[in-house]
Amino acid sequence: MPDIAIDCRNLVKFFRKQKIPIRLLQDRILRHRLHGERIQIDALRGLSLTVHQGEWIGLFGPNGSGKSTLLKVLAGIIKPDYGTVQINGRLSCFFELGVGFHSERRADENIYLHGLLQGMRRREILQMTDHIIDVAGVRSHCNLPLKCYSTGMRFRLAFAAASQVDADIFLFDEILAVGDTQFQLQCWEHLASLKRSGKTGLLVSHNLNDLKKTCDRILFIDHGQITGSLEEEALKAERSPDAVPEVIGRI
């Protein structure tokens, strides 16, 4: 399957929890009977998905429908109870901007650690640190700890660091719901450039219009299952030629 980037079959993930959760060891030992009743939350119910290389898929659905769980299973953060996942290519996931960033560290220190966590090599990170600082537009603050940055500067730095990661498959979970208009525009432009360069992507968003602009296919997820889809032809018909200015209009 050379042209398949992600192939998952019959994914099942459930969370078994006590109705009254046990959070203390002393409760487990001493008051076990009080917490005996269990409930099962089925986050994924036999979900199968194939993503071809270069394809961008949008995942849309209400809260608790299983979108984020699916991404976490694909990323290997959560182990599925049943089913298989096959990833062909280097994976990079962004479930939150600035993972590993610390408010007491400077920009270059945060970029370095972020890069290491993304599996980049020391030399690679050092080579692109200046570029990331320039792209983020935080050169004036680069000797200050992150706590001295405005929220917008932090977002820009985090996104600039994230966008430099060299990977074949990208997973994004609602990270573009933050920041101001200019920041969002920058993000969408970057996603478009990733798509043009043949990368594969999975995007989770609560905004269907955003997904329509970038994705080749949109899958509707509810109760841990794919309940419908918008295929490429339908999306092409809907897609406006001036997609980026439309973002400004909507906001």
């Binding site: 959560i78 996942v85 610390h102 007491e104 560290r105 290491l116 966590l117 599996g119």
Partner: protein
């Protein structure tokens, strides 16, 4: 499955970077800086020395050094085990949202505390120079003690970290256990190092006035690994002449036991870590 595999060299870079960053950040912005790490053990050292010192110092030569070395090794153990649990809470963002071998976070804790312990050892050396203790070449084996203690502390730390997210009172219970263990470790009182293991076990049930609890505690104090490690460190650094240095067989055996603790902890941690993200 899924994610990018970290090579050995990348893992090493991550451990060194996170560990060093945590060491630096711990003291960045505070007026006392690094000396914060010294205040805890130093206060404990002074309190014990001033209150209990007069009762035991006559039977233990170089008692201030004996006590200080015991306290810094003990501190290394407690700070590392607590650090293993704390790391999962501090790095919640990474654990929940990043496909990353969690084991590396534990190694980073070990690295951070190894740096701090090494600096404490330098201070111990300065103390020793002040008290005119005579170091021999045997003191060069002290880093081995440091490695043994790190292995055992990380092993115990990983067992605790495996369950500290699921059961939030594990940290609290460990705090109590640490208090008890402190008194069951010969840090401020003498260790009966002269008896061999076999002789002790044989004589265990033959002592006059046999009292089960007292005897079991005695046996525990004598043979628990932290007691042995601290005693070995003192024999190497302070009393190579009078107590005799630990044999190669003894050091190898103890190192293997420490590695066993570490592997047991790692096995449990690896089994539990896929569930960490859903236990916050």
């Amino acid at each position: 499955m899924a994610t990018h595999r970290f090579t050995f060299s990348q893992s090493l870079q991550v451990v060194l970077a996170i560990g060093w960053a945590d060491f630096v950040l711990k003291y960045r912005g505070s007026i006392l800086g690094y000396f914060w790490s010294l205040i805890g053990p130093l206060v404990r050292f002074l309190v014990i020395l001033l209150i209990f010192g007069p009762y035991v110092s006559s039977s233990i030569p170089l008692y201030p050094l004996y006590l200080f070395l015991g306290i810094i090794i003990w501190e290394h153990f407690t700070v590392t085990t607590n650090g293993c649990m704390g790391m999962l809470f501090e790095k919640e963002g990474i654990v929940q949202r990043h496909p990353f071998p969690h084991f590396l976070l534990i190694l980073a804790v070990g690295w951070t505390n190894l740096i701090i312990f090494a600096t404490h050892l330098v201070i111990f050396a300065l103390f020793a120079w002040y008290f005119q203790a005579h170091f021999t070449l045997n003191a060069l084996l002290l880093p081995l003690i440091l490695v043994q203690m790190t292995f055992i502390a990380l092993g115990v730390g990983m067992v605790l970290a495996s369950y500290c997210l699921k059961y939030r009172d594990v940290c609290h219970l460990w705090g109590i256990a640490i208090q008890i263990l402190f008194w069951l470790t010969p840090i401020m009182y003498p260790y009966r190092a002269q008896e061999t293991a076999t002789k002790s076990i044989v004589s265990f049930f033959q002592q006059p006035g046999f009292h089960p609890l007292r005897q079991y505690l005695d046996l525990f104090i004598h043979f628990q690994p932290i007691s042995i490690i601290i005693n070995d460190a003192r024999r190497l650094a302070l009393y190579p002449g009078s107590s005799g240095v630990p044999t190669l067989l003894h050091l190898t055996g103890l190192t293997l036991i420490c590695i066993m603790f570490f592997l047991l902890g790692k096995w449990l941690f690896d089994r539990r870590s896929p569930y960490f993200a859903q236990e916050y």
